[in-house]
């Protein structure tokens, strides 16, 4: 049995989402990400490479586990609970329209379950169906999410944080300037992709974000 973090309060405050640009099983981007994550960093990494098939994702997941080494980083895979399970990752991150955590657990896939939610209703549903944490967004304006309409805003983030008992990670337009507002609204932590793309700045970025949540 894999070691689950001692319920939700052991979860890190920061979730790094992978670049979505892996070309193949060599995992060039993930490898360099893991090289830039400091040994003592407290964060989780969500592998989100939706264009890759099962075998490529499996290879990438195994590679990520190897690259993680003894770092405390939690590893999750987007959507594919089966691949997360067979490759020994810590959990799966489910899109809003994925199979529910409850159904996957019922089928024997026990692991950490994160759920993307874009409304209060789906936040409540995800909590009811056994999610361990929620990812809510886009909170702020972000170029990659513009096609889905205007950002949700921090008031909505606040409502989600109040209405559920789960840790809520804010996503979308997270920067050093916006992160403190998320914390103020009750977000447990934050998730981002582009914020972490510059490997030279990664260690500093992680440290500063962690400080925001320690204050």
């Amino acid at each position: 049995m894999r070691q689950l973090p001692e319920k939700q309060h052991a979860l890190p405050r920061i979730c790094i989402i992978s670049s979505g640009q892996e070309k193949n099983k060599e995992g060039t981007h993930l490898s360099s990400l893991f090289e830039s994550i400091p040994d003592d960093a407290n964060c989780m990494v969500q592998i989100r490479e939706k264009h890759l098939g099962g075998l490529a994702l499996y290879n990438l997941a195994c590679l990520a586990r190897k690259k993680r080494g003894t770092k405390k980083v939690l590893l999750l895979l987007n959507e594919r609970a089966d691949i997360a399970f067979v490759s020994g990752l810590d959990g799966v991150h489910l899109p809003e329209k994925a199979c529910s955590p409850a159904a996957l657990k019922e089928g024997g896939l026990e692991m950490l379950f994160g759920c993307s939610v874009h409304s209060l209703q789906s936040a409540i549903e995800a909590e009811r169906s056994g999610a361990d944490y929620l990812l809510f967004g886009p909170v702020f304006d972000t170029p990659s999410k513009r096609r889905y309409g205007p950002p949700q805003g921090i008031e909505k983030l606040k409502q989600v944080c109040r209405l559920t008992h789960l840790p809520v990670f804010a996503l979308g337009g997270i920067t050093m300037e916006t992160a403190p507002f998320c914390r103020e609204m009750g977000a447990y932590g934050c998730a981002a992709l582009s914020l972490f793309l510059d490997s030279a700045l990664l260690a500093g970025t992680l440290e500063q974000l962690n400080l925001i949540w320690q204050k």
């Binding site: 098939g53 099962g54 075998l55 490529a56 499996y58 959507e79 594919r80 609970a81 089966d82 691949i83 399970f85 067979v86 490759s87 489910l94 899109p95 329209k97 994925a98 199979c99 529910s100 159904a103 996957l104 019922e106 089928g107 024997g108 896939l109």
Partner: protein, 209 residues
């Protein structure tokens, strides 16, 4: 509980990406198909799971096997009898380690070598193809033909399901060549009556027994 592959020769109906998989499966089952494979590459996980539950229920009612293509997670969550994996899906060994013998694992092979390897690694059955030219899926290889099927059947002891370009007319030859069964998409899904097509295919493959 170990699952059992139907007595040969048998028909496996694979759902068609272009239509509702539940109603297609229901018709195929009423036409006597003893094995249904849910295959949908572009659906959301939740839709796939909902379909899987519906087909699971109907397969149980008909005493038929229910297999999910590619998505082992959906197979496990819906209580399917098995999962069917392609060469670009989760590796067989990894899948087997996760499910043990509680689930059947079928492997798609496009050559005798791939089929042999799948058998060595513990596959329960092989989907070998495409045997004939087909329009259902885009193909990168020429069709294998009946001779390759015959050769594979003589070398491999686990059941081989012939797939690709199967019609009422050519189906019996596949069984004569040693296939344990046939797997079809369009021969059933695109027929005027999928129910009648399933019935008729089951009949013609049993003529030469």
């Amino acid at each position: 509980m170990a699952k059992v592959i139907p007595m040969p020769p048998f028909l496996c109906v694979i759902t068609d990406e272009e239509m509702n998989p539940v109603s297609l499966a229901a018709e195929a089952l009423r036409g006597g198909a003893p094995m249904i494979q849910l295959r949908h590459k572009s659906a959301d996980g939740r839709a796939l799971f909902d379909w899987a539950l519906e087909i699971r229920k109907r397969c149980t009612e008909h005493g038929a096997l229910f297999i999910v293509n590619d998505r082992l997670d959906i197979a496990m969550a819906s209580g399917a009898d098995g999962v069917h994996l392609g060469q670009e899906d989760i590796p067989l060994r990894a899948a087997r380690k996760a499910v043990g013998n509680t689930m059947l694992i079928g492997i798609s092979a496009t050559s005798i070598e791939e089929a042999q390897k799948a058998q060595d690694e513990g596959a329960d059955y092989i989907g070998l193809g495409h045997i004939f030219p087909t329009i259902s899926k885009e193909k990168h290889h020429p069709p294998l033909g009946l001779e390759a099927l015959e050769k594979a059947a003589s070398l491999i002891s686990i059941p081989i399901l012939a797939i690709g370009g199967i019609t009422m007319e050519n189906a019996p030859a596949l069984i004569s060549a040693g296939a344990a069964g046939i797997a079809v998409i369009s021969a059933v899904s695109r027929a005027q009556s999928p129910l009648q097509a399933a019935k008729e295919l089951s009949r013609v493959i049993n003529l030469n027994r």
